[in-house]
Symmetry: C2
Subunit: 312 residues, 2 copies
């Protein structure tokens, strides 16, 4: 992995992604005591940064591999990202989903012509079903966060953010599976002048925080968090990058996350999904440490079910 | 009223407003069969186009008048707009609100240091209370929609939209009190090459539609619409402009409005208030008439109560 590779990845995926805007809010600056630059991946194609990694992963395949299709198991944004990226590249996408996945998630995949294969909802069933499709169809398995091509793709959001704001002192991202965090950390390492990368993580699913403490990949026994995109754990490809290049992980409560969502929705008038509000919640929690700094925040996505919102 | 006046108004208010972005969506273009350019006044200061008219109205006052303050009665966006514009200009703002107005509306005014004077909720009480403040304080009354300075101010959103998209065939706005619609119609008349202006209006509060039909200002006996900003009726200053310069008014059902809100929220990932979705609902309803045209839509505002959303 080097700077040149990341640049090539960025060039390669450009035709398949939006260059998303960087927004600011006077009110949120005042509230946080710092200057915050929000990289709006909620405006990305299919509504999340996952499009970047999915596009890069499929672009990395040989023609022969592309001819046999790709497979992933996900009920979240990566399923839609793989479906859309595959569609744009004329590649068949098999999406393994638990049979009890919400209809809105299934509809999202169908919109982009992904073929849904349902299975019982345990992780074992999902992995077995995906493996079966690899064998039967010769399809290539794509991992949502623990695969180099995916990690590099996710890092391109931070490259764009740093192009617009080269003087950032910090970039905050959420951490779930670790792909966005690792990619961002690489981008900051190669493309900034000592910009530090910090993650926000729900206390209720703080496996990444505990992993940094213990030095090995920890998992969650429960994950009772509104940030549904962050319930997963790190992997062997992204964890070493995170260990080496991430400054720290700040944990936030559910109340802090919901309060941050409301601030972004009400003040910025943009829709972000709960996971996206986690890094801003982390900044607000420790705002005394970032007074008068320049902080970038990656708003990871904007796919929410409007019939099921966390406000009361 | 002439072109030069509108330009002067625009120059004058520029330091007090955002130049809001114009956004597009491939999916909504496909869905409507036309090219739609959304002027995002939901990103305006205090969250709505009303800031433009309020700023211009206060800027039009003499120093002596400014010294005595301004007064309006409103429980909506105009109350916040007057409060914020007055604050920025060092002018006292008295806001008459019904005592049963939602706390979220009162809080909005307080954020901008407006002084709230509560009264019983009938229109007569509100008018009487405002008149009393005019007499007691010498404050100048500002009307949310039926005052020339306000109408000209609201027209500046369309000036900006036409600067960015000079080739628009149509501009759609919502119509409630008529200030935005009349201002937009003047702007299109003076600053476009035959761009036509069309309004969307809820069937449940279709006073403006009926006014254009009958040739006199009609009112609503009931207004059971989710588009809470559009429950008012036209006035003697804006109605003649609307009669002369507006192409037509398209009425939409509550289901069409809610469906349009959801499309804008889900597809564009931006928050608009129900009134803002009315013109897009109107375009979708009659989309066969606008095939392959270039249509501007003014998204009037983004102030919603997240605890009370029209989704189920």
């Amino acid at each position: 992995m080097d700077k040149e590779t990341l640049l090539q990845v960025h060039e390669r995926i450009k035709p398949f992604i939006h260059r998303t805007p960087v927004l600011t809010s006077e009110l949120l600056n005042e509230m946080s005591g710092t200057r915050v630059f929000f990289k709006c991946e909620n405006f990305q194609k299919m509504g999340a940064f996952k499009m970047r990694g999915a596009a890069n992963a499929i672009l990395s395949l040989t023609d022969e591999e592309r001819g046999k299709g790709v497979v992933t198991h996900s009920s979240g944004n990566f399923a839609q990202a793989v479906s859309l990226a595959a569609k744009k590249l004329g590649v068949k996408a098999y999406i393994v989903m638990p049979e009890n996945a919400p209809q809105v998630k299934k509809d999202g995949v169908k919109t982009y012509d992904g073929e849904i294969i349902e299975c019982p909802s345990t992780i074992q069933h999902r992995e077995d079903t995906a493996k079966q499709i690899q064998e039967d169809k010769g399809a290539t398995f794509l991992h949502p966060s623990n695969q180099d091509e995916v990690i590099y793709g996710q890092g391109t959001a931070a490259i764009e953010l740093l192009e617009e704001q080269p003087g950032l002192d910090y970039i905050f991202t959420p951490v779930g599976g670790g792909g966005l965090l690792a990619g961002t950390a690489l981008a900051a390492y190669y493309f900034s002048n000592n910009c530090k990368v910090i993650a926000g993580e729900p206390i209720e699913a703080d496996d990444a925080y505990r992993s940094l403490m213990s030095g090995k990949i920890e998992t969650n026994e429960t994950y009772d968090t509104v940030a549904d995109g962050l319930r997963t754990h790190l992997g062997d490809r992204n964890f070493p990058i995170i260990q080496e290049h991430v400054e720290k992980i700040i944990r936030v409560s559910e109340d802090e996350i919901i309060s941050a969502i409301k601030l972004i929705w009400e003040r910025m008038k943009i829709i972000v999904e709960p996971s996206s509000a986690v890094p801003f919640a982390a900044l607000l929690r420790d705002k005394k440490d970032y007074k008068n700094k320049k902080v970038g925040i990656i708003l990871s996505g904007g796919n929410v079910d409007l019939r099921n919102l966390p406000f009361n």
